[in-house]
Every structure is written in C-alpha cells, then in structure tokens.
Amino acid sequence: MRSNPQRRRILGALGLTLSATLLAGCASGGTGSTSGSGGDSATSPHAGTITWARPAASNGWEGDKCVDTSIPLNPAVYDTLLRIEVPDGDGLAPGLAEEWEWDDESLSYIFTLRDNAMFSNGDPVTADDVVFSVDQWLSGEFSSSYYATVDHAEAVDDTTVHIVMKQVDTFLPALLTWCTSPIYPADFAGETSEAFFEQPIGAGPYAVESWEDPMGTSERITLVPNEHYYGWDGEPPLDTIVVETISDPNQRALEFQAGNVDILAAVDSATATQMADDQLLAVKPNQIQSLLVNQAVPGLDNPDIRQAISLALDRDALADTVNDGSIAAVGALPVNVPGEIAPSSPNSYDPEEAKALVDGSGVSDLTFTYLYDASDYSADILAQAVQQQLGEVGITVEFETTDGNTLIARESSGDYELSSAGASAISPTIFDPISWIAIQYGWTGSTATTIQDEFLAGTSTTDEAEQQEHALAVQDFITTDNGMIGLLNTAATYAKQTWVDGFVPLQYGTFYFDTLAG
C-alpha cells in the first residue's frame, strides 16, 4: 500500500472532526435551565395553544372502555357529578353536582345539579341526562361490575337526582370521579352511540374539534373550548388544546426541547435529566411498587422465605437508587390517599434476621426468577437493586424481562416466580387501590379472600373509624402474608414549558383542563 503523509494528515483531520461532532452530539442533552430548550422565555411561541404529548393513544370516548390513557384525557370533554379536590387531592369536590348527601333510609345518594351546567351543544345538563348516563354505566360490557351495588337512578326534578343503592356503598362517591362515570346528554343527543363516540358531546370545558388516527399510534386530538362551560370566568384561557401521541420517549423529549410540545406526561428519570429544573413537575408519590411473590412456587410457598425477602430489602436505599422522588414503602398500600394507614408492623430492614430465616427455612433451592417490564426504566433499576440486596441474604435472583401487557398476562395466570407490580389510587379513598390490589393478590396463588372481604366491609359502613379498621386489616394481612411486598411509593413526573399556567396534575394520574392557560 502506498504511504502518503499528506493523505494521512487529511484523513486524521477528518477523523478528528467527525469524532468532535459526534461527541458534541452526545453532550447536547440535559440543561440546567430552560435556555436552549426552545423555551427560554415565559412567552409561548404558539400562544393560545397547549400541546400535550404522551406515550400512548386514548382508548376512545366511551366511559365504559375508559382505562389507562383515557383517564386523564376524558375530563377535558366530559364532566362528572363529582370531582377530586385540587390541588391536594385530599377529598371530593363538586362537579356537575353542587351538593350531595347520603340518605340512609332510602339507601340513596341525593345529588343537586348546578343550574348553569350545559353541554357543548348548548343543551342544559338535567337530571334526565344523569339517569340516562347511570343506565349506560350499569349496562356497559367492561365497567358495569364497578357499579354492582347501584340499583338505579331516578330524576326527582330537573336538578335533583337520586342514585338508589342495593346496599350501603361509601365507595360510590369516589367512583363518580372516575372517567367511567361521565355524564352524557340523554339519548346521546339524538345520535347513535357509534356516531356520538366519534364526536362526543359533554359538559366538560372542551369539545372535540378533530380526532385524527383514532386510538392509533399517531393519534392527534384537537380540542376547542366548550363555550357553554359553566366554569369559565370570562373568555376561555385557551383557543386550542392538542393531544398528541408520541411513543418514543426521546422523540417526546426532543419535541419538548424544540418548543413544539408544552406538556409531557410520563417523564422517566432518564428523560428528566434532559429537562431544566423549572420544567419538571412531580406529583405526590402515590403508586406503590411491589414485589409480587408467587406462593405456588416451591420455596416461595414457605412463609419464612417470603418474610426473609421483605426483611432483606433496604427500601430507603432502593428509593435513593431509583432517585425519582420515590419514598420507601411502609406497608403494602399507597400513601397520599385519604384514609391511608400504616400497618401495625411497618416494613423494616433487618438483613441478619432475614439471613436467619433463610438458614432456618430448610429450603435448599433459593434461586428465583424476577419478571419485569424492561421498557420501564425505573423497574429496571429497581430490579437490579433488589437482586443485589436479596443476594446478600443468600437469595439468588435471575431476571426475565418482558413487555407491560405480557407481564400482566403472565402475572394473572400465575406464570412467574417473583414479579414487579404497581398499584395506585385514581380517586381519593384508600379503598380505591385496595380494590385493585384485591385482584392482584389473587395472582400470588393465595386463596385467602381477606382483602375482598375487608374491602366490602370497609365500603359498607359510613363509620370512618370502622373504615380505618378495615384498611388496617388489609395492610396487616398483606405485610404478614407477604404475597405482595411493598417496596416504594413512586411519583409520576410531568414536564411543562415555563409559559404554561394552571397545570395542576394530581397524584391520581389526572388533572382538570379548565385552569390550563398558556
């Protein structure tokens, strides 16, 4: 090969330039302030419009099918009888119902509707609309089981409606804040249900102007103000809200940095490092992350091994490792929910006791597989920390990763040994997460019906002290049985541009749109 010093110099210079460019590219990411992020002033480049980007599309506008991504979206269009108190989420607040009370004699909740509430088509919201809506909830294929204790609803006059119960159920008011409980116009305002849910009419602050790629990977929803909304104090603060689906987290972050997106949901700790401090907004920790323990697996069927696993976990260290505003779990239920209560014996860290339990258990094979969702950044870090901590007491953890849907499918069919699970409240009562955990606990191979029984007992009494006793019984059962070992309470993180005002996300995975401005 010919050797030419000049050529080598040129090639060297090219190589250096390329390397420098690539390194510069790698380095440009996180910023300590908003400068350079496309949002270096408090003035929106698209005043009057807020764009909200999130990882997955909605599940449509049917209350019956409202899960996951529709939970925070649907309140933009539909109002509910009751709302969650803002900003602390400490209780219930009036929605379409100004007042409500429980009547023990008739086993009914009595609601008094606002007289100025109107749907986006200009029709007033009346008791007949509520009766029609309740009938829809009760006949839904997906969500009717939530309303099993509701007998029927009846209109007393235009603004008074009774929801008659089959039995006492103090959970119903919280359930009325869920997106499965929207108020529709009676008879879908003369439309077929199919046509109605393509262009829904609600009494919420916004109405659907366009809906591109419905529920698809690039869903884009454009909302415009409902000019008849009762909550406006003068002109609506925004002309448009755009809800965009961007599945790739890097792409979401880049669109945010370019100033094209104003609000980001589901910001993981890796993405958060690319945001300025004044752009990040963490809600109160509310989602309990737990270790699901399959009691049908040899070794894990031994209560001493399950207790050893709980004692071997240094939850404060786990919270530091995950480092996203998480706090150590004292029990098995989430915190920052009204009615929360610590277990009689809170979770503790005692590796020596854990080691003694392992040694005395007589279990020879102490290798277990830990199943988790690899796309969940925090779950990945948590899994490694759990592996290391359990390893210190002689329990070997091997990993098996999967996607979110497969994870739930395998957990629910008992096809796992150890697994990650999460539960949070979507309304302000501790019985909300208990209802979910009751289902998850059935996946651990436990045949005990304690959680379901305590849920039913706790929601069948109006005595708050009794309700607390039943919540405590759930905590104590789980922290003793250790089929589900609480690790952390994690907090959802949002990012917002500095020009966005009135964005108050709640710990329940939702927020209300009528205060949004920018």
Binding site: L11, S28, G60, E141, D213, S247, Q251
Partner: protein, 313 residues
C-alpha cells in the same frame, strides 16, 4: 422457458409463501403470553369481565376455527377491524403503507445516490483518498446503529437549523417530503455502506474488463463510457442486493419510524403486537410479506430481462 412462463411460475410459487406468512403470524401472536381482552378491559378488570370480553371477541373458540374464519374473511377482502373496533384494518394498513412507502422510496433514492457516488469515486482511483473514505464509510456506517444516527441528525441538524421537523407526519404533501428527509437519510446512511462495497467491487471489475478497454481504444467518450458501459454493467450484480435493501426498507423501518415519530407500518406493527391486536398484526404482516415477495419477484424478472441465463437457473 419464456418470460411469461417464468413470471407465472414465480407468482404461483409466491402463493404458499404468503399462506405460510399468514399461518405463522396468526399462530405466533396467539402462542405468546398476553391477552387482548385484558388489554381492552384494563388491569383492574375482574376475571369475569375479562372472560366476557374474550367470549365477545371470539377468542374462546379453538385456534383452527379462529384461523379458518379469519382466512375466509381475508379471501373476501375483509381483514376486520382493529382491537378497539375504531378503524378497519385495511384503512390502518393503507395509511401506514403511504408513510412507509414514501420513506422507503426516498431512502432508496438517497441510498443509490450516496452508494453510486462513493463507489464511483472509490473505483476510479483504487487506494486513493476517495477509496479510503469509502472504506471507512462502509465499516463505520455498518457499525453505527440507526437509532443513534437518527438522534444525532435530530440534535445536530433538525434542532439547531429548524429546517426539518424533529418528527411527525404533517398533512401537507410538501411538508411531508421535508419531514421524510432526515428519516430517509438515516436509513440511507445505514444501508448504503452495504451497496458501496458491492458496487465498488463490480465497478473495479468492469473498469478492467476487455470490452471497456476496447471501447476506450475506439474512442468512446468518457461520459458514454462511464454510463453506458461501466455503470450499466456494474449495476447488474447489485440488483438482487437492491431487492434485499427494499425488503429491509419495507419491513425494517420500525426503529427509524419510532425515532422520528412517523406513523408507518413498522410503528403500527409494534404497537399492535404490544396490544395483541391480532387483526392489525396479520394485516400488516401479510401486506409486508406480499410486498417483499413481489419485490423479489420483480428483481428476478429484471435480472432475467437483462441476463436471460437467470431464467434457466
């Protein structure tokens, strides 16, 4: 064998391949863990609710019955609707195919331009500086993952200049071409290294061939010599390779589509697999499978046209 017989034979051979694709895609999605009924009903749904949803979706029937029902509908052009029932599969596939098709065509053009330019420069003076650059490019281009190249192009080009969108698929045609520029370049930067190596070798071989020497000796002009004698003949061995690249472009754009938030077939497919949306997965897999088989068929036909020996083999 006549040309027509050759094409007819290849078309007949394609039918079992497409059937096999449909069976495999149908079975794979149903054999992996994950329940579309649970996806629809949400994590809080009770077992009774999920069983009810499963029955209403026909998922409680035997696999063979489900497949035969699906095949019967598909033969009649009915690919069903997606999991949520909001859109017909044909519409979803059609929309995604427009995005992926546009991306693939622009990427292919970029790939050919980059590859041909670099290969020509390299082959004209072996061991020259252009040849060295082409070699570094071939190795480096293969080593760089496309998601990283995409990120770099966004961070170094789209964000500072504002000339290109960071991502997304606009409604306006002109804006779409602009939006597809960086994704297509990303793909071209990943694919052209393969073609550069192949083209360079072919060009070197043709440059040294007797007929090129003869043409040169009788005074054929430089431009005519290059395009009519050299490039035309050097491209022949690359036709099957281009077919492979087109196949990759149709089915393998998911990473780039995700990085640039393009609603193409790849991104739709990943979402559908994740949600266990069987109808959409089958619709896309069948479409992609059929398109790839057709592209290979087209490549075979092209090759047989320019080189009749291919028909005999």
């Amino acid at each position: 064998m006549t040309q027509l017989k050759f094409i007819a034979l290849r078309l007949v051979q394609a039918v079992p391949s497409i059937l096999a694709v449909s069976v495999v895609s149908f079975l794979m999605l149903r054999l992996v863990p994950g329940d579309p009924a649970r996806v629809l009903a949400g994590p809080r749904a009770s077992d009774a609710t999920i069983a009810q949803v499963r029955a209403s979706m026909g998922l409680d029937q035997p696999l063979v019955t489900q497949y035969l029902l699906y095949l019967g509908r598909a033969i009649n052009g009915d690919f069903g609707v997606n999991l949520t029932g909001s859109s017909p599969v044909l519409e979803i596939v059609g929309n995604g195919a427009v995005v992926t098709g546009t991306l693939a065509i622009v990427a292919l053009i970029f790939t050919v331009i980059i590859s041909l330019t670099l290969a020509l420069l390299a082959a004209r003076r072996p061991e020259g500086i252009a040849d060295h650059i082409a070699r570094v490019y071939s190795v480096g281009g293969l080593a760089l993952p496309s998601f990283w190249v995409a990120l770099m192009l966004i961070v170094l080009v789209a964000l500072p200049t504002g000339w290109f969108p960071v991502g997304g698929w606009p409604t306006d045609f002109g804006a779409r071409l602009n939006a597809v520029f960086l994704p297509a370049l990303t793909l071209a930067l990943s694919l052209s290294p393969i073609l550069v190596r192949s083209l360079r070798s072919s060009l070197l071989e043709v440059f040294g061939s007797d007929y090129v020497l003869s043409a040169r000796s009788i005074g054929v002009g430089k431009r005519r010599l290059l395009w009519s004698y050299v490039v035309r003949n050097a491209l022949l061995p690359s036709i099957p390779l281009v077919a492979v690249i087109v196949g990759f472009l149709l089915g393998g754009t998911v990473v780039v589509e995700s990085a640039y938030n393009l609603p193409g077939l790849g991104q739709i497919l990943v979402g559908a697999v994740s949600n266990r949306d069987a109808n959409v997965v089958q619709g896309i897999v069948l479409t992609l499978g059929t398109m790839i088989i057709l592209v290979y068929l087209l490549a075979d036909v092209l090759l047989s046209l320019v080189d009749p020996r291919a028909r005999q083999s």
